[in-house]
Amino acid sequence: MNVSNILLAAPEIWVFTMACVILLVDLFLREERRGIIQLLAMATVIFAGFITMRAEYVHDGTFIATAFNDSFLRDPMGDVLKLFTYFIVALVFVYAKSYLRQFNMFRADFYTLSLFALLGIMLLISANSLLMIYLGLELTSLSTYALVAYDRDSSRGSEAAMKYFVLGSMASGMLLYGMSMIYGATGSLNLDAIGAAVSSDKRDDLVLVFGLAFLVVGLAFKLGVVPFHMWIPDVYEGAPAGVTLFIAAVPKMAAFAMAFRLLQTGLGELHADWQQMLAVLSVLSIVLGNVAAIAQTNIKRMLAYSTISHMGFILLGFAPGTGAGYGASMYYVMVYSLMTAAAFATIILLSSRGVEAEHLDDFKGLNQRNSWYAAVMAMVMFSMAGVPVFVGFFAKWLVIQATLEAGMLWLAVVAVVFSVVGAFYYLRVVKLMYFDDPETEVPISATLDFSLALSLNGVLVIGLGIFSGPLIAVCMRSFAA
């Protein structure tokens, strides 16, 4: 191993260094100058983007390199996902600042823990061995557990963190058990070596499938698909909105990468086995997520169930086992993060006087209070429902197209039918905003950076829909080989 190999991990090293720097700088700052922490965190994320892009291979999009004895992998898929993750994290930092200030929780811990979670996500995206997948996952999870309990005086937050921690640990245990079985059957921790061992003739099918079942359970817990979804609504509701924003939008990118690396790179030869498992999981999620969301009056819970159904769509893209399917899933996960960030940002925007705007009634008559923010939220809701022109439509369309190409007609039919069912609760929010009268006359105030970020986010939701070609091409190219 030489130095240029280590430099493949330069973005990770940079984020880690800056997280430690922020930790130390905070000790020497007075309370009224905490804004510097926010600036440092933004700079960290933006420079991480430059470092990731600096590598010459981003531009031709075919370069694949490994470092640290093949346990760390740089490939086009990972780079695209990382760049998009930085963008979402930057948005989250802008949104969260105004939330944290308003609720008197503006401390440096939020930024250090978020950056450590980001580091875990980056390592998970680049992981090429079972060990690195597990460690990246634990780093991400541990930081997010702490973030959920960030509001220490909130009993709901502590309860959510406790549930998240216990269920998350159980999922990690399942994943680890599956990994140990896979290791026992193939004799290697490296995903490429596992892939080679699985495709050889001497493979031990029973133990491999046994390990695979546990891997899928662990993955399903982390993604939050039915029947391993119970923690999602409670955690989304209990965590402070600024934190929910982070855990809803950001770690899903890593979960996608983890699922791809484990299932395709490692166990691609067992496609027939995991295809059925994923098909069942995704159908259940799409059905239950969309139906249960109708009954919610709390918008954080509603978005949680909507997340469950979106995760079902992402797993649906895995079922065909083709490059088109993975590309569609990757596009879906990026689009999902973009829409979720905007939706939670609106909740933060409407929160006032120390009360989170988490009830559907808080959205009543938003159009009369501020028509631009109402338009942004309406676009996000249309997009989540899968209305054409908006970006969410193309994501759903690509996934369903890939499913149909693989000849899984009934999966596609269920997905389409329950998307239509799901449109009800998204459009209900639009109805509340445009056709009901507001309950309060409190003016909506937002800082300049917040309204700029939210406007950009909203414009992207429709802009990436109208000009959807480039991003789809980038996603598809990542799996062309």
Partner: protein, 204 residues
């Protein structure tokens, strides 16, 4: 039966029994002590495998530090156990049912066709004299596994940060001394000179 196998089975039995006791005894202090016993037995098994470094680390770190700390916490907190075991009997049938089905399935997979039999895993050849377990581990950790090793360190750092972020709080209204302020105190802050009019003496 060679002596190594007798020693192995003896310690394996003690280990299993101690582990069962850890989760069944009611008193958490006893449970912690049984856990110490379990660690000691597994240490002996490590030594049989010639992994002396791991054995010593297990004793030093787990028995010496972690368990002592754990005992302290258990004794200081004085946890009331009655609510914890509430509903135990009610959920017992379902729990036992699920557990036994899973255990049977596991055994069917793992024991059929001698996949994980003793024959499939022969006793490793003894190391030559002068072989250093510690050196071999160190070499691996700092070459092949350097990235996972560093990331594990970062996870521990995050654990520290999270623990401090969740528990350290500056409470207002706490009656604590501030020595710096005590030294810097001015006369005016402590003493008030009141000028009063002198009053005439009042004789009985």
């Amino acid at each position: 039966m060679p002596i190594v196998q007798i020693v192995f089975y003896a310690f394996a039995l003690v280990l299993t029994a101690a582990s069962v006791m850890v989760i069944t005894v009611r008193n958490p202090v006893y449970a912690a002590l049984f856990l110490v016993l379990a660690f000691f037995s597994s240490t002996a098994i490590w030594i049989l495998l010639e992994a002396e470094f791991l054995a010593i680390v297990l004793v030093l770190v787990y028995v010496g530090a972690v368990m002592v700390l754990f005992l302290f916490v258990v004794m200081m907190l004085d946890i009331n156990l009655a609510p914890l075991s509430e509903g135990f009997i009610r959920y017992l049938p379902a729990g036992v049912g699920v557990a036994s089905i899973m255990a049977t399935e596991l055994m069917v997979v793992l024991w059929t066709r001698g996949r994980f039999d003793a024959a499939a895993f022969p006793i490793p050849a003894p190391h030559p004299q002068g072989y250093s377990n510690t050196k071999a581990l160190g070499e691996l950790l700092f070459t092949q596994y350097v990235l996972p090793f560093e990331v594990a360190g970062i996870i521990l750092l995050v654990a520290i940060i999270a623990a401090i972020a969740l528990t350290l709080r500056k409470r207002t209204g706490v009656k604590a001394q501030n020595p710096a302020r005590q030294v810097m105190v001015q006369r005016d802050e402590r003493m008030r000179v009141v000028s009063m009019k002198s009053e005439p003496r009042q004789d009985g």
